[in-house]
Amino acid sequence: MKDKSLKKVLVIGSGPIVIGQAAEFDYAGVQACRTLKEENIEIVLVNSNPATIMTDEEIADKVYIEPLTLDCVSKIIEKERPQGLIASLGGQTALNLACELDEAGVLEKFNVKLLGTNIESIKKAEDRELFKNLMQEIGEPVPQSDIVSTWEEAITFSEKIGFPIIIRPAFTLGGAGGGIAQNMEEYDEIVHQGLAQSPINQVLVEKSIAGYKEIEYEVIRDSNNTCIIVCNMENIDPIGIHTGDSFVVAPTQTLTAKECNMLKASAIKIIKALKIEGGCNVQFALDTVSNQYYVIEVNPRVSRSSALASKASGYPIAKITTKIAIGYNLHEIKNSITQTTLASFEPTLDYVVVKIPKWPFDKFSTGDRMLGTKMKATGEIMAIGRTFISSFKKAVTSLEERYTGLLHRGFETLEKADLLKELALQDDRRIFRLAQALYNGIEIEKLNKITKIDKWFISKIKAIVDLEHTLEKKKLDWDLYLKAKQFGFLDSEIIAITGATKEEIENFALQASFKTVDTCAGEYSATTPYFYSTWGEECEVEEFKLKNNNKKTKDTIVVLGSGPIRIGQGIEFDYCSVHASLELMKNGYQSVMINSNPETLSTDFDVANRLYFEPMNEEYVMNIIKKEKPKGVLVQFGGQTAINLAQKLNAQGVKILGTSLDSINATEDRKVFEKLMRELDIPQPKGCAVTSVTEALSAVKEIGYPVLVRPSYVIGGRGMQVVYNDDELLTYINEAFKFSNEHPVLIDQYLEGQEVELDAISDGRDILIPGICEHIERAGVHSGDSMSIYPSQNISRKNEKILVKYAQKIAKKLNIKGLMNIQFIIKDNQVYVIEVNPRASRTVPIMSKVTGIPMAKIALRAILGKSIRRAGFGVGLYKKSNLVSVKMPIFSWQKLNRIDPALAPEMKSTGEVLGIDTKYKRALYKAFLAGGYKFSNSKQRVLVSLNDHYKKPALPVIKKLFKQGFFIMATWGTHKFLEKHGVPSKMIEKFMIDKLQKRMKNGRLSFIINTPTTGKNSQNAGFQIRTIAQMYGIPSFTSIDTANAFLVAHKVFDKNTILTYDTITNYRKKKFLDMFKK
């Protein structure tokens, strides 16, 4: 039963979104908080990530948006005195922090109980050696391995075992720093990297069992020793590829009941031996020709896999884990889906679920696409279908790529020999090569030999490809059409393959039907509002509506989600979609959510009246709209994914609610927008839209270099670049055309000024601007990658007024209803508008929190026709409080090889943290702390290498660096320049990369200031230095503005400043408190 002594509980979040630790922990965290709230427990929440729902003030009683450091959390514990701490829902970050708090004696000192799994168990699961020992004790097989802390120990192991060897660093996220070594050279590199990245300088070296099946079990245990399997999953990719980078299917498809039971028994034995209380993930390797299996890994906490398992099965793992943490047993908890059965059962599926990762390689063209033990995907999509084939095909469509099918991916022209050779590559495109090979008639047997993918999966993919063959040859009749639909083919694909007309397809008059996800395969009556589509089967939506008939509710409105998390379209849009949906329900509407992302809160079935887990694709969305007949669709909350659907839906007669489609187009269409700005008398950088190279060259003649080149209608500035001359222009323009599809490419004058942005809400009459943010880096860095300060510190009153005036003019002219984001450049005291986004932006969650204005909610009410004057925050620019915040972008370089970490107009960051205080410098310092930057008292070395363009502007910063006691090493040109200006530095040759690498390896370099020479040339020395630095976790500042900010923060540290931490609510109130004091 519930532990009655718990009145107040601290929940630790997972920090910024990075590869390997993403939105799944917002979903888990929110479920945890909701559960605690239901139990009337006071919740204290700490998380440095402002883009999450969990840091909303209505989720917890006290919200600390503060760095996840030992110092900070200790002080919060001292102040709040919670009785319990929940750390198993905040990923590896929270778990590591809980261990630190325990070791530092903080938990004991303040009598805080770690709820759920205890520290000892966590360590047994996380520490490679302890885990191995435990497995040996209970007789569970683990692959031959050794824990090493030095290179010498690693050599001893490799001599004994031979290659290939897997290297896994201890206590790192998503296997950062790990890999498979085929030879001594690779072994040397990966082991050193792993030792450097492991916080305890420890790596596991392990006999490679690549080619085994990879199977996962999601298990829950309570203190009564009841163990249940929520879901098992099978990786379509065999062992060797990180499970986060694998295609995954649930439940397992190729295992006999005996094999399932064998692994289940093992999983239960392990979770019992570890005494886990709550959710846990066990990974196995299973031989393909014998009963031999190995236990690979145990995650003693809620994980990405458990989010997937929750969505795949309908079983809320995070919620149940929380209930168990506060003392309940499984049989004391109701199954929230059936309401009649209990949580102590095992879900059973009557559908098949497929997950596909979403990788950032479309953005990072130079990136290393090879997949291994280190996770590279930023997000994932999930699809539900009645059969494996339909689910798999749907999943591919959910990726939101240019091509929706398995074929036509550019491998058609490959010679057979080349195709076979490339099939051996384990990269993100292997499934598409496999499909092409099947289409070309290569036998399953052969493909299985090369790829090690189970023949069962290959034969299913073959069935899809074969049907494409059939569609090419046979006349399309009813039976063939139905089969194609049941296989997951889109009408557009069928039309393209068969040459049938749209009318012919429409004449079949086949409509999608929808089935319910109910955890029990229909055995019990359930009314879960959680649907997926199927063809030619009974539809359950009408039955659901009948059962849940509520005459009081108004019309139905559809919220379009934002699909998988990718760079440039992250959790913030999920934040906005969730708020929109909740607010719709609050206002009496029927909310319908559509999304394909299993990690997020928006696909939790209780944030909407009905959830459709479907691809964010025009046809799939239209199927739902035909069924739901909504009053309209909300597109402004779901990022570019939703905006891209707006036009297509509108063309089919669907009403777009809020800002009109014409207005959306006006901001994206260069010519229309220019005309608009001229009419409004608002200056903007010179520029134009071009559709050919010749047009581009003549445009540049008029504008003058440097220019900014970018495609229109893309996410996160994809393909955007500053260009200084004709040569560079010719290189980039083609790439830009590729990204742009049928839309033109934009060329703008590049103004290197102060970048400013604001978010606003408009009801068509008035606008409310919660605040103005100023970027630390000068223009030219993507806003998502800039550090940004609220409230702005360096903008004159006069210019502030101009910004507001421009925003008002634009909102009125475009008749904005809902959210809007405007970006400006101020150069030479002149304000230019550079971009208007008539939709939710990345900064909406942050601005909502720092100002206390629930932006998404007010925007939704404005869309529904309510005046923003009635929201209670006035109109125009909202008043500032004493709070100062600094947003810091967070990158995931350590997971991605060969990607230039230089800041550019194209976005590269995966997440963000927020530093908050009442003083700017402290907020800045906190932002760096939250970002994981290390500060140290000892004398530190810094490598400085500047390009010609930035030498002069950088001089004051380098002088400051010297004055603050850093030891400067400089490359030749920079050294000469500094010498001339009287700044002492030690010269170092750029090409002596080996020497530099050694320094970095040994930790004798604190950070790097390196302004990149232009050109995406991966061969240049700067690129190499930067990437090596990232590999060893050494910060490299590629903008002198960021470096300057770091020095400012460092000064706060140097002064031994003692930081204080407070809730976001109190920071906003402090102004009044201060006034009172005076």
Binding site: I228, A257, N261, V289, S344, D350, W456, E538
Partner: protein
């Protein structure tokens, strides 16, 4: 195009993937996601048509090891999709080939979820499954005929052991075993736990078992309505109290009837691997594998019957003991209920009871001397 006709008049078309022909049977559903080979050969499904709620069936083929009985006794099986290109290193044949060889009608490309819901709402019922496309007249005639269908009690003469035989002749415990249609895994588990097993056919008399001085008697699982097995119940009654009795599935129901309990038909039965059952003594929970259409009424049990297990989903009785008469029984399948190896199972408990009994007897003999 094959056809499925339900007693309630529903007619459902599907692709025929099994044998040619048609059978009447009782339609039930099973919610397991794996284990179709074990389900096909679980003789408790005799004369039934099983709807698999999990859509992909046949993925890993049929192997030589995982059979629960030599031949299946069900008459039909229905799935969303039977796999035609199976793959597993142990597999020796395709599921379709197996079904054809064993004369089982199989239909796929059917909306199995809708069918499961229908059975859930209207209850298990008679049905006719055929590989043929029927005319409207034929269909109407069949529906009429279905009203009279019932699984006759002599089905256990086919599913049970045909004659007495020795399953294994080594073991500390000399166990008599009445096979009404057992699963191999029950015999297997008992043998592993140290039982020497003599298997008897369902027609065995109490006298024959008692004459052979076995240490204990085990009643197996099996098909059909237990209320109709009056001969078997009479025999068991004569043995009760003389040696320890254990029962599983049908065996459990027969023991309950012997003790005067009522056995009634469940609306849609329990068939799957995910049923939570609580041990009423230590409050520990088991996720159990089950296959039964009847249940023992729990609300008017005689005082001497102690309920031991209860189903957490619908509160039905799942196990009982009569200490004074040494009767021990559970409704579910403990041998295929997955637990971590090191934990003691119900079989261990029972084997220990039998061993204690042997010791007591030996002591008695000594004392008499």
């Amino acid at each position: 195009m094959g056809t499925l006709i339900l007693q309630d008049g529903s007619v459902i078309k599907g692709n025929s993937k099994g044998a040619i022909g048609g059978y009447e049977g009782e339609i039930v559903f099973n919610t397991s996601m794996a284990g179709y080979q074990e389900i096909l050969t679980d003789l408790s499904y005799a004369k039934q048509i099983v709807v698999m709620s999990y859509p992909e069936i046949g993925n890993y083929g049929i192997n030589e090891i995982d059979f629960e009985a030599q031949n299946p006794a069900l008459v039909g099986i229905i799935a969303k999709n039977f796999c035609e290109e199976e793959n597993h290193y142990k597999s020796t044949q395709n599921i379709s080939t197996y079904l054809q060889m064993h004369n089982i009608i199989a239909l796929d490309d059917i909306d199995t979820r809708a069918l499961v819901k229908k059975i859930r709402e209207n209850g298990t019922q008679s049905a006719f499954i055929t590989s043929n496309d029927l005319t409207q007249e034929e269909i109407e005639e069949k529906i009429q005929h279905l009203q009279e269908f019932k699984i006759s009690n002599d089905v256990i003469l086919q599913t049970g052991a045909k004659e007495k035989y020795q399953y294994n002749d080594q073991g500390e415990i000399d166990l008599a075993f009445i096979d009404y249609g057992t699963k191999n895994s029950i015999l297997n588990t008992l043998a592993k736990k140290g039982c020497k097993i003599t298997v008897y056919p369902p027609s065995v008399s109490a006298q024959e078992i008692l004459e052979n001085n076995h240490h204990a008697l085990f009643l197996s699982s099996g098909p059909a309505n237990p209320n109709e097995f009056s001969y078997q119940i009479e025999q068991i009654k004569e043995i009760v109290g003389k040696i320890p009795l254990f029962g599983i599935g049908l065996g459990y129901q027969l023991l309950a009837l012997c003790a005067g309990a009522e056995v009634y038909k469940l609306k849609s039965g329990h068939r799957g691997t995910n049923y939570p059952v609580i041990n009423l003594e230590n409050k520990k929970i088991l996720i159990t594998n089950q296959n039964h259409g009847y249940a023992v009424k729990s609300d008017n049990l005689a005082k001497f019957i102690r309920a031991t297990y209860k189903n957490l989903n619908d509160d039905t009785l799942e196990g009982f003991e009569i200490d004074s008469l040494k009767v021990y029984a559970v409704q579910f399948y403990p041998e295929t209920t997955v637990k971590a190896e090191e934990t003691t199972t119900i079989y261990d408990e029972w084997v220990n009871i039998a061993k204690r009994e042997i010791n007591n007897k030996n002591n008695e003999v000594k004392n008499e001397r």
